[in-house]
Symmetry: C2
Subunit: 394 residues, 2 copies
Amino acid sequence: MNFNLSGNRVNPLFSNNLPPAPHVMSSKPVNNCAMNASFFDKHRIRLIQAPMAGSQNHRLAAAVFFAGGMGSIPAAMLTAEQLQSELSAFEDAIASEKENVKATQWDEFLPVNVNFFCHTPPPVQNEREAAWRQKLAPLYLAHGIDPKSVGSGPGRAPFSEESLKLVGQFKPAVVSFHFGLPKAQWVQQIKDWGVQIWSSATTVQEAQWLEQQGVDAIIAQGLEAGGHRGMFLTEDLSTQLGSLSLLPQLVKAVSLPIIAAGGISSPAAVSAAKALGASAVQVGTAFLTSHEATTSALHRQALMSSSAQHTALTNLFSGRPARGIVNKFMRDFGPLNAQAPSFPLATAAVAPLRVAAEAKGLSDFSPLWSGQNASDCEALPAADIAHKLLQGWA
Amino acid sequence: MNFNLSGNRVNPLFSNNLPPAPHVMSSKPVNNCAMNASFFDKHRIRLIQAPMAGSQNHRLAAAVFFAGGMGSIPAAMLTAEQLQSELSAFEDAIASEKENVKATQWDEFLPVNVNFFCHTPPPVQNEREAAWRQKLAPLYLAHGIDPKSVGSGPGRAPFSEESLKLVGQFKPAVVSFHFGLPKAQWVQQIKDWGVQIWSSATTVQEAQWLEQQGVDAIIAQGLEAGGHRGMFLTEDLSTQLGSLSLLPQLVKAVSLPIIAAGGISSPAAVSAAKALGASAVQVGTAFLTSHEATTSALHRQALMSSSAQHTALTNLFSGRPARGIVNKFMRDFGPLNAQAPSFPLATAAVAPLRVAAEAKGLSDFSPLWSGQNASDCEALPAADIAHKLLQGWA
């Protein structure tokens, strides 16, 4: 790993003793682009391991960090206590190589991206939830589940006051958001701490909105990406763009560094993203089969089988469209079902079915999150995967 | 332009006096890949102008050919007489530079790709067509159209015996198909003439099927592409992949040269496709605003406006999903409407509405075909566009 430069990360451009990078000396006004591009240049971060709630923890994040990329800790499915524990565990993992890390000049910042969802929880929808459970009743019956035992609850929590406190306490180098941004006051507090703020855009409009809100970098989430679509200014899936179209349009539309995400699973795809103007790439699917991921055996099996050739956007597992490998539940109910409760309320109804099916070795009701190209998935240490991908940037 | 090698195109590998290319000398059996990759290598064809029925004729094809790419003549909306006339006109355009062309060693082949649709016409569906016209009745009324005057008919014709005769007569270097392939006997005849056969694949399965049928190259049509989806083994739109995922998967799955299509509109995107293993790229949208295209003024205007940021797949204009800029008709009826007649029978019902609206300067009922990235569209000679794109291959 080859981090360069020291400096106070609050204002990275003017805090080191080296002359400014050539692009800073151009006649163009020093805009956010020049300011923030330096985060990727300064830390030589070109590969970000995508946050994948439910399939990984601090171990994967640390492995990718030590391999020269930036790891991510997904917070969406963790309580505050669990997140605290994850961040502490990451800190410990880093501490074991403290001298090395110190040399990388991350100062007081934890070299990790903590990812939060920031949806507005929907109003209670008891009738809709009851109707959905009614629809699933034959499945509950078939799997010996008492419908009355099926729980309720959101399944995923948005960024909160408690989350903010943990950010202030642990100072991750980066906080990234999915589904827009939390309230402006919290965004400002995070910025004041000198923590980078990133968020996902799926359209030109979303990227422009995020730029106006003052984010430091934008993740261009192409339609190929696995997991939840980050879309937040529209619910119209026809607006969603393939990476090859989204990435260059965002590079043109905003003056912030763009992180390419969606369909990037090989060194060649990393090179392609670089050619299209990305400042870094974010890779998820290729890490799902890494040794350090917590991906279930059934999920790993699906990723490495030909069934991974067919993924679809589905709202069945959470209420929002997310990309996963097509399985029985998606086939039988249609991947996008208008009757499913709103995000994240759809989560609870399918949970016991998943448990029952998985106990029988079936992934019929498991969310098999995957991007559109799982063909590069290999069962390898995350470091090997990261090193291979980074060859594409050279 | 820098074509190299002479030779009989029927068997290009063994027909020139130069030693075989290094990949031919490898220990791997000489497969179709080695055989056909040489078409792109031999002729140094890296850019194919996508066939765009309704928006171009031989003039664009000739301009792109003279600029170092390969032009295409779309046959889907032409009668046999019109196609004959187009091919003659292309021949004449080439003849004016006969010495130059002769030097390029295309032998008796016309250096052009003639593109055909090869759908199976649907059975008559009078009731469905009548119901659809009933649904459009208020629109006919609003535009002063007598519903009884609305014609019927397919709008687009598949490859036929007459098409085959013209191929035999004019010997285009390439015949490409959309929606699979025509009957095996015709495919064999075209191959026997030494004409290259290409077809579009939108999934791994389609590519493998085409390879089994003996095509010479496969067009990887990413979801970003404008116009009709070439899908033919499935009608499930969730199977459709973004270019960044489709292209590398097809490169891995078959041993034929892959032409990247969908979202390629800049030199950077050409470089990206090359990095992902494409043997050539096919570009449509970027040529729609070229001087030589016959694109309507309204269509050009839409392509160069911000409305081009939102395209969608729609079956309203023909009956099959095709990507175009979202307009009033698509918004009001939903871009994908299950009641629309089957391809290509939906064409006739909207035709008079288009004529009436266009007369008022409105594109409300026009098919505004476009890929997902029209942001590179410029009003330029096709040669300038081709030269710029080819910089990305270098």
